[in-house]
């Protein structure tokens, strides 16, 4: 047998060399840069590493992907517009798509020509996604889509979306769902930016009014949308687990320690011990994710233990907000308009609550860990066997 470690090292070295030569020095959100970079990455064989070669992937195994991730952790890749497509929608089409869907959608995605978004969450369906109310009604061979989605990353740039809709309200909630591919440029699709509490609008609300979907737009099987969603969320967990935090995080220990120094606060023992505690928590999480990586390389995938990293990251962010306030000096409260550092810190402080909500709240992560890792009993489900039509959903008024 050829030495797998040796192959991994070679792939990692090749990836590092390519990334060093091709990643733009200045981190950017420019769409043109992103598309050109994605195309070049595909050309070099680093996009869709585990995807089948027949649809433009590299057809390699998981170790090659891990080797690439390891090499990429030292770079800020300008590929954010493709995160959902490459990390979630594409892999789900690889798993569940028809031959036609794979040939039509995967190659342009890999080449950076088409952008994707994922449309699950709704105002009435957050942690309980299966209670969603967007409906798709059959009309001959086609379907008609109506409803509202929220927290949709990239919808304003997206060419296509993977949308989860209710196709049968007369069966229990998990059974009446279907996943579709929706053309985001189709008539009846309206995208509105959604401002979050930081004042920025990195997400969107998406409204569907009489949007027509072709019969060939179903991903997987009609009525088995929940299974498709589970497949996609499995890919999301992997992609969150393998996405490495940007180096310039204003809430990182190194940055906040420098703030404390700049503000003359390191003579204060209370400040020093708070910073030490922050280091300790952030370092523990780094070591945990490094350990999961070493275990994965040895053939033990993390599974639901990935939720531990997600949860701890959110808890650490919340703690770091307090430390940032402590060490930031007056500029933590109000800063000159051209004080970019203070303003980025303020955005990060105001953005911390999202870490505890997005991608599964802390409470949901704790349920996942408790039930799937520790094997504790689930809470009794009152809605599992009831037709969706009879359920309470979202925010109800007291009767």
């Amino acid at each position: 047998m050829v030495d797998a470690d040796q192959q991994g090292r070679e792939f990692r070295a090749r990836a590092r060399e390519w990334l060093t030569a091709n990643v733009p020095a200045q981190d950017t959100d420019d769409l043109g840069v992103a598309k050109r970079f994605q195309a070049a990455m595909h050309e070099a064989g680093f996009a869709g590493i585990t995807w089948p070669a027949a649809y433009g992937g590299a057809g390699l195994g998981e170790p090659a992907q891990l080797a690439f991730n390891d090499a990429a952790k030292d770079f800020d890749l300008p590929t954010r517009p493709f995160i959902i497509g490459m990390g979630m929608c594409g892999p789900t089409i690889v798993d569940l798509g028809t031959e036609e869907q794979k040939s039509r959608y995967l190659p342009p995605l890999l080449r950076g020509e088409e952008i994707w978004c994922q449309l699950f969450s709704e105002p009435g369906a957050g942690s309980d996604v299966a209670s969603l109310q967007t409906r798709a009604v059959r009309d001959g061979d086609e379907w008609v889509l109506d409803g509202q989605k929220v927290w949709t990353t990239l919808a304003h740039l997206a060419d296509f979306g993977a949308v989860l809709a209710r196709t049968d309200p007369d069966v229990p909630k998990h059974q009446g769902l279907t996943m579709f591919i929706v053309d985001m440029h189709a008539p009846g699709v309206e995208v509105r930016p959604l401002r979050d509490m930081t004042g920025r609008a990195p997400f969107n609300e998406v409204f569907f009014g009489n949007v027509r979907l072709g019969a060939d737009s179903v991903i997987g099987t009609v009525g088995e949308g929940w299974r498709a969603a589970v497949v996609m969320l499995g890919h999301e967990r992997v992609s969150i687990g393998t996405t490495v935090a940007r180096r310039s995080d204003p809430l990182a220990f190194e940055v906040l320690a420098a703030d404390a120094r700049a503000n003359g606060l390191l003579d204060d023992q209370a400040v020093r011990t708070e910073l030490a505690e922050l280091y300790s928590r952030q370092r523990a999480l780094q070591l945990f994710t490094a350990r999961l990586r070493q275990e994965a390389n040895a053939g033990n995938p993390p599974g639901a233990r990935g939720s531990v990293a997600k949860l701890v990251g959110a808890l650490n962010s919340a703690f770091a907000v307090d430390v940032a306030g402590t060490v930031g000096g007056p500029s933590a409260l109000a800063a000159d308009a051209d004080d970019q550092h203070a303003i980025e810190r303020a955005v990060a402080m105001n953005g911390a609550p999202s870490a505890a909500i997005a991608g599964g709240t802390n409470e949901i992560q704790r349920n996942i860990i408790g039930e799937r890792v520790l094997g504790l009993a689930k809470e009794p489900s009152v809605d599992r066997d009831v037709p969706f039509r009879e359920l309470k959903v979202g925010t109800q008024r007291a009767e």
């Binding site: 023992q269 030490a276 505690e277 370092r283 999480l285 070591l287 409470e363 408790g370």
Partner: protein
Amino acid sequence: MELVLTHEQEDLRATVRKFLRAESPMTKVRAVVDGERDHDPALWRRLAGELGLVGLTIPEKYDGVGATQVERSVVLEEMGRALLPAPYLSTALAVDTLLALDDEPARAELLPPIAAGELLATVAIAEDSSRWRTTDTRTIATPDPDGWRLTGSKNLVLDGATADVLIVLANSPEGPAFFRVAGIASGLTRTPLVSLDPTRRFARVDLNETPAIRLNATDPVAALERIADLAALGLAAESLGVLAATVEMAVDYAKVRVQFGRYIGSYQAVKHLCVDSYVDYELAVSVLRNAAWAADHDPAEFRLAAANARVSVLPAAFRAAARNIQVHGGIGYTWEHDAHLYYKRAKANELLLGNGVSARVTLADRLGI
């Protein structure tokens, strides 16, 4: 860095766990808790002879096994899990001290009988501040025609009342230095203390013109730092075992205890308590493996990692031990239940090298902030 144990290290863990389950069950721990004895000398001989654990990190030329700190961490984890009431940590720290100093004759004389389980040794570093620093040392060493005489008072000496040899930190005219003192030396008063943790034995050691032999050391201050860091690592390893045991106890109980017609582990309020302890465990394993690996491979990283293990692992074990009592409810608060023994060991380990503030200050110092 290596954060995952090898098959051989996992085998070592399994061997130690099996042995301690069979030979040091809670009924035997309770005999020590109830004050019937300080430890079980027959068990100690088997730990040393049959299992080779007492000489684990002692080099082979002194009749030891020559293993690394990673192996010793694994052993200490299992001893923490079993709350083994034996003078293992104290002896291990004495071994670390002899290896950190530069006294070849003392090593050659003391390490082989330690490895054989025939000689109990401990370190007497802390005084009233309880911190392991030369600047907190008030004990005085004065030269004498036959060697040295020590006068002062050492506090929180682990197994200090029973050790055959004590390695004592004192101030000599040339600066801080380490000395060996026989347990039967004149002018030595060893007073057993009432410990927060009844599975541990601490003593105050008063020295009054006590004869001592100086141990050769080129840099006693650096040696003390290394010894204190290895003590932090050892305590963290034990506490990781405590943490693991309490997570398992809580989860196991939440799976069988029913209230209001449901297993209590199905309630999020209880489930999330168990999860928070498990999360503490996963982080603690990661921090500890890195520190144990760094102890033998990366001195700069070890200074940080050992300080971080104190800040990170020791309080985490106490949190988990407290949550375990909470998950058990009333039964967990009884003397009969073992939960309190883990709670007490976790808190005692947290305090042995100084309080939590001092742990964070040490980490801050090492971070250069």
